[in-house]
Symmetry: C2
Subunit: 346 residues, 2 copies
């Protein structure tokens, strides 16, 4: 039996590691033919999320194919929104479409779902994945963060301008806080259930919060983010906070109670380290587009990320999710490069 690989968990806690651990946001995805085959078998994306055995299969693919140091639950951040009472559809090749929530009275139609009875397929997937992983690498659970979940619900999908949710924030700050609070309550129960089912770390994806000013992040988003982390702290698993486009409020993210700040590619990890005063481990931050370059260029970019990162407390990742047509051989090569370039003198 092989030794469990705990590089990822150790790095989350800023402990010494033999080499830099690496995993990728959206590491199970369309760039893998094996993923596309299972998705087809499932009959589509949402069906794949809701079939625990198949969700397990695609969760394990990157561990087997790439040799990454962590698995991440295959699921979708919109799952809890559907359980809250918001109908969602996924067109082929399009983004999701949601029935929109637009004001305080729409909120009364929503409820905080019971994660075990309403999203039991997620917990079941986690149990199966843990069993199938045999502790080879840890399993990361995840949820969308309150603002990002709210933005899907209010915009009805992805958005370019986020005009609807931002105008709600300006028009009715009280009911906007209620909206974020409802999302936070949902996320807390959902992530607790994931950890109880076996998730060994959790990542909160506040993917779209980068549209906010530092001022509004501090006023509206930091308080609910802190509430989520504070409610989960007692579970004893590392907690990661990711925001795309976070250069304007890295300092605030470090005050959220997260153990790890996941940084997009816009800011160097040396600057991120300085601005967060070493309070958190750092995850990131290769530009996902660098994976389209030659292996020489890719290696140089990976080397740069590692050179700027702290010696202890760095998890290599992308600055955003893997793009659908990323060259697979470069992803495989990147994992090897990180393990080689990240070797520590022990």
């Amino acid at each position: 039996m092989t030794q469990p690989n705990d590089r990822f968990l150790r790095a989350c806690r800023q402990q010494k590691v033999d080499t830099t651990p690496v995993w990728f946001m959206r590491q199970a995805g369309r760039y893998l033919t094996e993923y596309r085959a299972v998705r087809e078998k499932a009959g589509g994306f949402l069906a794949l999320c809701k079939t625990p055995e198949l969700a397990c299969e695609v969760t394990l693919q990157p561990v087997d194919i790439l040799g990454v140091d962590a698995a991440i639950l295959f699921s979708d951040i919109l799952i809890p929104l559907e359980a809250m009472g918001i109908p969602i559809s996924f067109g082929e090749g399009e983004g999701p479409k949601l029935e929109t929530v637009r004001n305080g009275s729409d909120l009364d139609k929503l409820h905080v779902p019971d994660p075990v009875s309403q999203t039991g397929f997620v917990m079941e997937a986690i149990r199966i994945i843990r069993r199938e992983l045999h502790d080879r690498v840890p399993l990361v659970g995840f949820a969308g963060a309150p603002f990002t979940l709210a933005s899907y619900a209010v915009e009805g999908g992805t958005s370019r301008t986020f005009g609807e949710i931002l105008s709600w924030m300006y028009r009715e700050p009280e009911s906007f806080q209620r909206l974020l609070g409802l999302m936070a309550d949902t996320v807390i129960l959902y992530l607790k259930a994931q950890v109880e089912a076996g998730a060994q770390a959790i990542q909160l994806f506040d993917t779209w919060a980068g549209v906010l000013s530092r001022h509004h992040y501090r006023e509206f988003v930091l308080p609910v983010t802190s509430r989520v982390f504070s409610a989960l702290k007692g579970l004893g698993v590392p907690m990661i906070l990711y925001v795309n486009g976070s250069a304007q409020f890295l300092e605030e993210m470090a005050l959220s109670g997260a153990d790890v700040i996941s940084v997009d590619w816009r800011v160097g990890l040396d600057e991120a380290r300085e601005r967060t005063h070493g309070a958190c481990a750092l995850q990131g931050n290769l530009d996902p587009v660098a994976l389209y370059a030659s292996k020489e260029v890719l290696r140089e970019q990976a080397r740069r990320v590692i050179a700027l990162a702290p010696q202890a407390g760095h998890i290599f990742n992308l600055g955003h999710g893997m793009l659908p047509d990323t060259p697979r051989e470069n992803v495989i090569a990147l994992v090897e490069m990180v393990h080689e370039l990240g070797k520590k003198e022990l």
Copy 2:
């Protein structure tokens, strides 16, 4: 005859003003019924850009209707790309579609256009606008910055991920620099011609450069931006640099040679001032979505922008372009609010 209003030009030079000058990016636009009428008369957006008398008419509308302190040439940032040899079409209600430029050999098909013979309608519009303005307020000319022009040409329109242009940057940095250089040459001649035709200030829109890391901004974009400003400096008109999502490289923007840095809403003007060491005047930075709020909230947001701004050297503007369905009465009210809240003790 009324006194020429030079608040805007004085603020660009960090000189004392009686009150804060204000204008808005995309102040001539769909939120004005008067604009929509002229656009219809012209037979569409591109036709409107190419008909100097009508371009003049919509340029003057916000001066008459809103009472802003500067007019900005009505045109489109893609005009010089078309003149370079890139076919462009505008569908109704959609973004622009361009024939894509994808590699070094595509560059050989492009040329640096002569702005006077190839985009004479722009220069003619400027002459007519200056005549019709009677010096009531100054006229701002503009161009897309090299990276933003390049991103339209390479992506074939607007983009979510900017995967094509970023992967070119990683794959072939030499020809990527040639691409940016070609755009810079075009922009320099184009803006020179605008100033010679009568533009009294110029703004360089690097709208999409916020996708870049500070590191790549410094390596690829700052050098061409500096080259543009340095070539135009002798013309003696204030030069403004705008980037949306610029929190990661405000310091670099201040090194570009711009007289004014136009900041999006994500960073407070106090922080922007500190990070740019007072080297430049600041323009901005109200979130355009704040215009959807009540007048009370709007006033509070405007007050906040002004409170954080420097006493001399602030031009009030939005952090991004006006949204198409912005409530017109709020825009009118905002100009009054700024003039009232921005009053200086002389």
